[in-house]
């Protein structure tokens, strides 16, 4: 069976411990050539550890990693065609911005003129062309982050690992840099692995996303599939806004203790016993009379210009229900409304103890 897409990185059964802490637990992943790959997950789930193993700073306890079919683990860090942008930047404090960025190119023994022009070019890309002579200590946090980014991308490696590359930037610079990164990736043809906390960032930039949970990979998929077809309740909860109902599996959906049968789509999965029903806020709508619906009360109305969100409550349930609508809404706070949804879009998922409690 040959697949049309080529894998650049193949990670198999990777396990890594720090003393008694298991940072990675049997992780298997494929990263494709020229892909923009995002690692998404809460703090401490092992994202940095995975990057450190790819970069060669940690030797995993078990498992294998190959790059273009070649074993990577046995290759020393300075021989790997991989560059890492450190989460804490790790800029050289005694060198100015230009020297920091040039360092990696000098190690390749490139001609001076080429080094100079490439450094200038990359500093222009990150908007720091007038800071060439500044020391890292004279820069703001966001500027340092951009120097770290420049230092990593200037090498044009096969694989670029970025550990929270944009977290210190303000919104505007951040979205500019997101576009810039995307452009760079298409232009230079580098495979990117980006670690981020920020799911919006991951969703908007990545070709595929791996959602990591406590040292394991929960699901690897395109942003759309992750959102529409989460494999677990944890992933469904982690990605985007969601409304969860808990109950017992029945043929048409789940049976909720007080709301009765809530219809949903099992996507052919074999589920039994306790289950969750996930409904995205935009898949909820106000019911017309006679439809199967659940009664709720409007707690709050938030209007965001293009869309509005209704915060609704159900008796006997502490977590609010979120429903979003395009445009403005006529619903008033305190009004009683009935909600319904398209059963095909509501996802039935097996019980997942890791999903944050409702």
């Amino acid at each position: 069976m040959t697949s049309p897409v080529k894998n650049l990185i193949e990670i198999k059964n990777l396990t890594h411990d720090y003393g008694s802490v298991r940072a990675l637990d049997n992780v298997s992943l494929e990263i494709r050539e020229n892909e923009f790959f995002a690692l998404l997950g809460p703090s401490g789930c092992g994202k940095t550890t995975l990057l450190r193993i790819l970069a060669g700073f940690e030797t995993p306890l078990e498992g294998s990693v190959t790059l273009a079919g070649q074993d990577l683990i046995s290759l020393p860090a300075n021989k790997r065609p991989i560059n890492l942008m450190f989460q804490s930047y790790a800029l050289f404090p005694h060198m100015n911005v230009g020297q920091n960025v040039a360092y990696g190119l000098e190690r390749e023994k490139l001609p001076k003129a080429e080094i100079k022009s490439r450094v200038e070019e990359v500093l222009k890309t990150v908007g720091l062309q007038d800071k060439v002579k500044a020391r890292p200590s004279q820069l703001s946090g966001g500027q340092r982050q951009r120097v770290a980014l420049a230092r990593a991308i200037v090498k044009r490696p096969k694989l670029l690992l970025l550990d929270e590359p944009l977290s210190a930037l303000d919104r505007k610079v951040r979205s500019e840099m997101q576009l810039e990164l995307k452009r760079l990736q298409l232009e230079v043809g580098i495979t990117f692995v980006v670690v981020t906390h920020d799911q919006e960032e991951a969703m908007s930039m990545a070709d595929r996303i791996a959602v990591m949970v406590e040292g394991t990979v929960g699901q690897v998929d395109t942003p759309v599939d992750l959102y529409q077809r989460p494999a677990t309740a944890y992933v469904g909860d982690f990605i985007g806004e969601s409304n969860f109902f808990d109950g017992i599996i029945v043929p048409e959906g789940i049976k909720h203790a007080s709301l009765g049968v809530l219809p949903g789509n099992r996507y052919g999965k074999d589920i039994s016993g306790e289950a969750h029903l996930l409904i995205r806020p935009e898949d909820l709508r106000l019911a017309v009379s006679g439809e199967h619906s659940i009664p709720t009360m409007v707690q709050d109305v938030q209007f965001y210009g293009g869309a509005s969100t209704l915060v609704l409550s159900i008796e006997g349930r502490s977590a609010p229900i979120l429903m979003s609508q395009p445009g403005a809404t006529s619903a008033q706070r305190g009004a009683l409304v009935n909600l319904t949804w398209d059963p095909l879009k509501a996802i039935v998922l097996p019980r997942d103890s890791r999903r944050s409690a409702l």
């Binding site: 560059n83 890492l84 404090p93 020391r135 090498k155």
Partner: protein, 298 residues
């Protein structure tokens, strides 16, 4: 207009408070330096331009003779020998101290403090006694010769004692901890991620050492060198005990002028020349440090 006056007043009082604060904080130190450093140096400077008294002391008749005498090749030779010995000691201290400090800094935290205690342990014993013990080791009948003879490595005992090398060994032994400690402090402060970043950018270990570790620990290296070089230059116990009569360092010479020859003015000139050397040395190191590692640690 009216509003600028109060702010100026308050800024003035702020300045005054700053001054007061500085006086309180720096006062004791300044006082100490004035009494215990400036005064003796001034005295020595004054002595140097007068004639010697017959049984020590000073006859207040101005002369330049003390200075011309110091230019005599015999004394210049002692001075250059002292510089050489102190210089070699410092270089050896770097060669031994750097790897040691590096190794200690890379130990697990628990072992680090134990290693540091071991490094300073010799200071718990008197310097004189420790230097004496080298005689036991280096003697023709000493432990080292004994051992070498016993294992048939040599057949006649070696003359280890009373050589310049013995003096260097003694000084090195005495002052090595003063090299290790500041070096350790600056190596320990290094962010290990910098080394990883260098490797990630393609640097070999050697390259990373010379482009990162060395410049970023230059301040510790320089401090350690000062701590070893200066007391080595002025030391007179080690050359006396381990150098015998043969190796006289400028420290012995100065001591002899004051205590034996009772020629205070000439002793003062020699002392001043050492101070001048030390001063030049400081300036050199200052220049090096500026070039190497200005705001290396922020």
């Amino acid at each position: 207009m009216t509003s600028t006056i109060p702010t100026r007043v308050s800024r003035d009082s702020e300045k005054r408070r700053d001054l007061l604060e500085r006086m309180v904080l720096q006062g004791p130190g300044l006082l100490f330096i004035t009494i215990f450093m400036a005064t003796p140096i001034t005295l020595v400077a004054i002595y140097s331009i007068f004639q010697r008294g017959r049984f020590g002391g000073i006859v207040y008749k101005a002369t330049t003779e003390n200075f011309t005498r110091a230019l005599d090749p015999v004394y210049l030779g002692v001075l250059t020998d002292s510089l050489k010995i102190a210089g070699i000691t410092t270089i050896l201290a770097i060669a031994i101290g750097y790897p040691t400090a590096y190794a200690i800094a890379k130990l697990p935290t628990k072992w680090r403090s134990i290693a540091l205690v071991l490094v300073v342990m010799p200071f718990w014993t008197n310097f004189l006694i420790r230097t004496y013990s080298w005689i036991m080791l280096f003697n023709r009948e000493g432990l080292l010769n004994h051992a070498l003879l016993k294992f048939n490595i040599i057949h006649t005992p070696l003359d280890l004692l009373y050589t310049q090398s013995a003096v260097v060994v003694g000084l090195l032994y005495g002052y090595l901890p003063l090299m290790i400690l500041p070096l350790y402090a600056s190596i320990e402060r290094l962010d290990p991620q910098l080394g990883e970043a260098a490797a990630n950018l393609g640097a070999t270990r050697t390259r990373a050492f010379f482009s990162l570790t060395l410049p970023l620990t230059a301040s510790g290296l320089i401090a350690g060198s000062i701590f070893v070089f200066i007391p080595s230059l002025g030391n007179f116990i080690v050359p006396e005990l381990l150098g015998g009569g043969k190796t006289v360092m400028v420290g012995n010479l100065i001591r002899d002028q004051f205590l034996k020859a009772r020629d205070w003015p000439f002793g003062s000139v020699l002392a001043l020349s050492v101070i001048a050397l030390v001063f030049i040395f400081f300036m050199l190191q200052n220049a090096v440090e500026k070039r190497f590692s200005s705001d290396a640690h922020d």
